[in-house]
């Protein structure tokens, strides 16, 4: 689709999944999922519970082997060279996978040691990350005393210990309050601007809208849509403006008057009409001028933009 890579200095996509299939007995978690993530971009893997998002992440992180299909992360085949893949990835999960009984500093140092950093390097990296994630004050407290947001930050920090070029985030903000979520989004955005590639699974459409360069929607183990957030939304039609009048007679007159603009009464509300905003702000001005010239007073104006929620519901039949 896009012939120009957003990160021209890199050789190829940072993540490739090719026809990934995974069966657990009779359960077909993935039924042939393919996608690519160009370097230094974010792919949002969207789907309802049980769609196969986590299974895909577990295959890409070498935790599971695919039943068939292939995948490569940072240029390395996940089945043939899992150990080499592990050296190039960071995983942060839906559970903040940190040790409750260790301090923040001990957790990050342990992950550094297990990444085979020298002891002093692991400690220094831990201190650095704790500062970056505003956890310095809590560095020497056991994690069981941390709030949910602090745990998530520590979990993400643990994924970053070895400076991995590829990050896999499985529902990184599930259960977080809005301000902690915002903080985490900012961190992820800054990592990407520094060249990290991110695959992010989420049920929050807002999150995908905010962070993802491209979105793959999966349902029942199949890709049901892919594209940018804007492309997915445009599949559901354009932005529209809704005008409300004091009573339905005024609305009827306005619909006739604005026939050239494609106005139609809202089926749910006979006092309101909807006009597709093909010409942007100019359309709004023309419409309002015309109504004003005919003494039709508008009570309320609403802008209706299709949201990813609309896309998601129409694609999967599920509410997020």
């Amino acid at each position: 689709m896009s012939s120009t890579s957003p990160a021209p200095h890199t050789k190829g996509p940072a993540i490739v999944a090719e026809s990934l299939v995974k069966h657990f007995g009779d359960v077909h978690a993935l039924q042939g999922v393919s996608f690519e993530v160009p370097s230094a971009t974010v792919l949002g893997l969207l789907g309802p519970n049980g769609a196969g998002k986590t299974t895909a992440v577990r295959i890409l992180t070498t935790i599971l082997q695919p039943s068939s299909g292939r995948a490569a992360v940072a240029g390395v085949d996940v089945v043939a060279h899992p150990h080499e893949v592990r050296r190039r990835i960071g995983l942060a999960g839906q559970y903040a996978a940190v040790d409750e009984n260790l301090t923040g500093h001990e957790n990050l140092t342990l992950v550094g040691r297990l990444n085979h950093l020298a002891k002093a390097v692991a400690r220094a990296r831990s201190t650095e990350l704790l500062a970056q994630f505003q956890l310095t004050d809590a560095a020497h407290r056991p994690v069981r005393t941390y709030s949910g947001g602090m745990r998530r930050r520590l979990d993400l920090a643990a994924a970053l210990v070895a400076h991995p070029p590829v990050l896999l985030l499985d529902e990184p903000t599930t259960g977080l309050d809005p301000s902690s979520r915002q903080d985490l989004w900012d961190v992820i955005a800054s990592l990407v601007s520094d060249g990290t590639t991110v695959l992010l699974t989420t049920q929050y459409l807002e999150e995908a809208d905010r962070l993802a360069d491209r979105i793959v929607v999966i349902d029942h183990g199949l890709v049901v849509a892919e594209g940018t957030a804007a492309q997915l939304k445009s599949r559901l039609g354009e932005t529209a403006v809704a005008l409300s009048f004091r009573h339905s007679e005024l609305a009827d007159r306005a619909v006739h008057l604005l026939g050239d603009f494609g106005a139609s009464l809202l089926p749910s509300d006979p006092t309101s009409l909807s006009i597709p905003l093909r010409g942007g702000a100019a359309t709004v001005r023309e419409v309002l001028n015309l109504l004003h010239a005919h003494d039709l007073e508008v009570g309320r104006i609403d802008l209706h933009e299709p949201t990813l929620d609309d896309v998601f519901i129409s694609l999967t039949g599920a509410r997020s």
């Binding site: 577990r58 999960g93 260790l102 342990l110 040691r113 297990l114 990444n115 085979h116 643990a158």
Partner: protein, 271 residues
């Protein structure tokens, strides 16, 4: 755009392998350290793993002990090696609980995504539990001394007795690793462990002379690993013929490990 893609080729010689024995050792030490730190942070675990054996000591020493006749020995001397084995056996539950909790909290997933030695996760668990066993056994020897238990051999023999117990603990750990990996959480691990341990610990010579049991039960009670280990510890700490019981206990432990370790490791790789 994905339909025409091809996987990038990768030359494995570019990366260095971290699978060497040196890294296995260092990763295992790192995991052992992590588990020991966690134990230190939650001293209740150590305390609770002492409460049960202490209650048994008090019960058998002062409540039932008067009614149990062991020819040629003070009952407290007969009892304490049995208590040591029991402590090690029930302590093995901690191995299962620890692993099940790591699994339930998603920690095993993270560890699997790290370029570390895979066996270090299990090795570090068993090593830390072995350290805990040594501490608990020494504390139980001390508690035994307070209620009248006396060793009748030398320090080396007593140390060998502790060694037999520790080896038995490692063997049991290989069973409990499998349980820990097979259940969803710590509570389930605890529940799964008791029915397995009770017949081993109680249908044994740990507290009573098996010759008082029905003959079918006695047949089992004199041959099974808890009894053999208790017998070995008695011989090493109190005196008597050591070679037979020590060999039997060590063989039991090695046999359990030989059978269970590959199954546990396979389970870990698969889960």
């Amino acid at each position: 755009m994905t339909s025409t893609s091809t996987l990038p080729t990768f030359d494995p010689s570019v990366g260095t392998s971290d699978g060497s024995i040196g890294w296995v050792f260092r990763d295992t030490l790192a995991m052992t350290g992590r588990n020991l730190t966690a134990m230190r942070r939650v001293p209740q675990v150590l305390v609770f793993s002492l409460v049960q054996p202490v209650i048994f000591v008090l019960m058998f020493r002062y409540v039932f002990g008067g009614a149990i006749q062991i020819p040629g020995r003070d009952y407290v001397d007969y009892l304490m090696p049995g208590i040591f084995t029991q402590t090690v056996a029930f302590g093995a539950i901690n191995t299962a609980v620890g692993l099940a909790e790591d699994k339930g909290k998603g920690l095993l997933e993270r560890l699997r995504s790290l370029p570390m030695s895979r066996s270090a996760v299990l090795g570090g668990r068993v090593m830390a539990d072995t350290v805990r066993n040594v501490v608990v056994i020494l504390l139980m020897i001390l508690i035994g001394t307070l209620v009248g238990f006396r060793t009748h051999t030398n320090v080396l023999a007593v140390a060998a007795g502790v060694g037999v117990l520790v080896l038995f603990g490692v063997a049991l750990a290989s069973i409990f690793v499998l349980i820990g990996l097979s259940v969803p959480n710590g509570e389930a691990a605890q529940a799964a462990a008791f029915p397995l341990l009770a017949p081993l610990v109680f249908a044994s010579n740990a507290f009573v002379d098996p010759s008082t049991m029905p003959s079918w039960l006695e047949w089992w009670a004199v041959r099974q690993p808890v009894s053999k280990t208790t017998e070995a510890v008695r011989a090493l700490m109190l005196g008597g013929e050591t070679a037979g019981p020590v060999t039997a206990s060590v063989l039991w432990s090695l046999a359990i490990m030989a059978v269970m370790s590959p199954i546990a490791i396979a389970r870990y790789r698969k889960s």
